[in-house]
C-alpha cells in the first residue's frame, strides 16, 4: 500500500463519493475492481484463444487454401480498420487520463471520439461483410463462391467470420460500456478521486484492440 491514500481524509469526508462500505479506502476499492477486470480479460483471452488455436491448426494443415482465400480480403480496408481501432485506443486512454485529472469536459469529448471511431470500425466491417455475402464467401456449407482453384477455402471463411464476428460483438459490447460511462461522466459522477469505471471500460476496450492487433496480420496479411 502506498502512503498516498492519506489524501482522502476520512474525517473530512466520512463517505467519499463512490466508496462502498465494504472497502477500507478508495485505493483498495479501485484495486479490487481492476483485479476483477483483469481476471475477466483472461477469460476473454481464452475465449478467443480457442479460435486462434483452431486457426493455427487448420492454417498449418491447409496452408494453400488459406493463402488463396485470404486474397479475397481487402487489405486496405483491413489497414484502415487497424488505424481506426488503434486511434480509438488512444482516445480511450486519453479519456482515462482526463478523468484522472478531473477534467470532465475533455473526458466527455474523448469518450465521444472513441465511440465515433468504434462506429467507423463497424461501418468498414459492414462494407467488408456485405462484399463477402455478395460473393458467396461464406462459412462452411454456405460457401458458394465460384471459380476457386484451391479447394477448402470455405474453412478460411469459417474462421474469418467466427473471429471477426466475435470481435465485432465485443466492439458492440464495448460501445455499450463506453456509452454507459459517457452518460455517467455527463451526469458528473466522476472526479480525480473516483473514475474506476472509466478505467475498467478502458481496459476492456484495449483488450478488444489487442485482439484485433493479432487478427489483422493473421487474416489479412499472411492468411
Amino acid at each position: 500500500m502506498t502512503p498516498s491514500t492519506n489524501t482522502l481524509d476520512p474525517h473530512a469526508h466520512p463517505h467519499p463519493t463512490g466508496l462502498q462500505h465494504h472497502f477500507a479506502d478508495m485505493e483498495q476499492q479501485a484495486d479490487a475492481s481492476k483485479i476483477g477486470m483483469w481476471l475477466f480479460l483472461v477469460t476473454e483471452v481464452l475465449l478467443f484463444g480457442g479460435l486462434f488455436v483452431g486457426f493455427a491448426l487448420m492454417q498449418g494443415r491447409h496452408h494453400e487454401a488459406f493463402l488463396a482465400a485470404h486474397h479475397h480480403l481487402d487489405r486496405s480496408l483491413g489497414i484502415l480498420n487497424t488505424v481506426v481501432l488503434l486511434t480509438s485506443s488512444w482516445t480511450m486512454v486519453m479519456a482515462v487520463h482526463s478523468a484522472q485529472q478531473g477534467e470532465r469536459k475533455r473526458l466527455i469529448v474523448y469518450l465521444a471520439l472513441t465511440l465515433v471511431f468504434a462506429c467507423a470500425f463497424l461501418g468498414v466491417k459492414y462494407l467488408e461483410y456485405s462484399h463477402k455475402f455478395h460473393e458467396g464467401l461464406l462459412p462452411g456449407k454456405y460457401y458458394s463462391h465460384r471459380g476457386d482453384t484451391v479447394p477448402g477455402q470455405f474453412m478460411f471463411f469459417s474462421f474469418y467470420f467466427m473471429m471477426t464476428g466475435l470481435h465485432g460483438l465485443h466492439i458492440v459490447a464495448g460501445m455499450a460500456a463506453i456509452s454507459w460511462v459517457l452518460r455517467r461522466a455527463m451526469r458528473g459522477d466522476f472526479s480525480g478521486a473516483y473514475y474506476t469505471p472509466v478505467e475498467i471500460v478502458g481496459l476492456y476496450w484495449h483488450l478488444v484492440d489487442m485482439i484485433w492487433i493479432y487478427l489483422f496480420p493473421l487474416l489479412y496479411l499472411i492468411g
Partner: protein
C-alpha cells in the same frame, strides 16, 4: 496531483508516442508481409513478432501494466501461459496423428460431400 492512489501514470506525450509507435509497427507489418523471405513460415513469425510487440505496448502503457501493482500483470501473464499450453498441446496432438484426419479435401466435389456428411 490526483487522489486515486496509483498516481504514477504516464503523460499524454507518452500516450501520443505509443500511438505513433503502434501506427509505425502497423506500416512495418504490412510492408514485411509483401517481402519474400524464402519460406512462408518466416513471414508468419515476423507478423506475430510485430503483433506481439504492439500488444505489449498496449498492455504496458495503455492498460497501465507498467505502472500498476504487479498482481494485474501476473494475472494476465498466467492467462497467456495457459493459452500457450493450450496451443502447444493441441499442436503436438495434431501433428502426431496424421492418419486419423480424413484427407477429404483433394477435390472440390469431395469437400461438398464431406461438408454435407458432417452437417448431418
Amino acid at each position: 496531483m490526483n487522489t486515486q492512489a496509483h498516481a504514477k501514470h504516464p503523460t499524454p506525450r507518452v500516450y501520443a508516442l505509443v500511438l505513433l509507435a503502434l501506427l509505425l509497427l502497423t506500416a512495418m507489418t504490412v510492408s514485411a508481409s509483401g517481402v519474400d523471405f524464402g519460406s512462408p513460415g518466416v513471414n508468419v513469425v515476423i507478423a506475430l513478432l510485430i503483433a506481439s510487440l504492439k500488444a505489449c505496448l498496449v498492455a504496458l502503457f495503455f492498460m497501465h501494466l507498467r505502472y500498476d501493482k504487479p498482481i494485474n500483470a501476473v494475472i494476465f501473464s498466467t492467462g497467456l501461459v495457459f493459452l500457450a499450453l493450450f496451443l502447444i498441446f493441441c499442436l503436438i496432438d495434431f501433428e502426431s496423428r496424421e492418419a486419423v484426419v480424413p484427407e477429404n479435401l483433394k477435390t472440390p466435389g469431395a469437400v461438398v460431400a464431406g461438408g454435407e456428411a458432417a452437417a448431418k
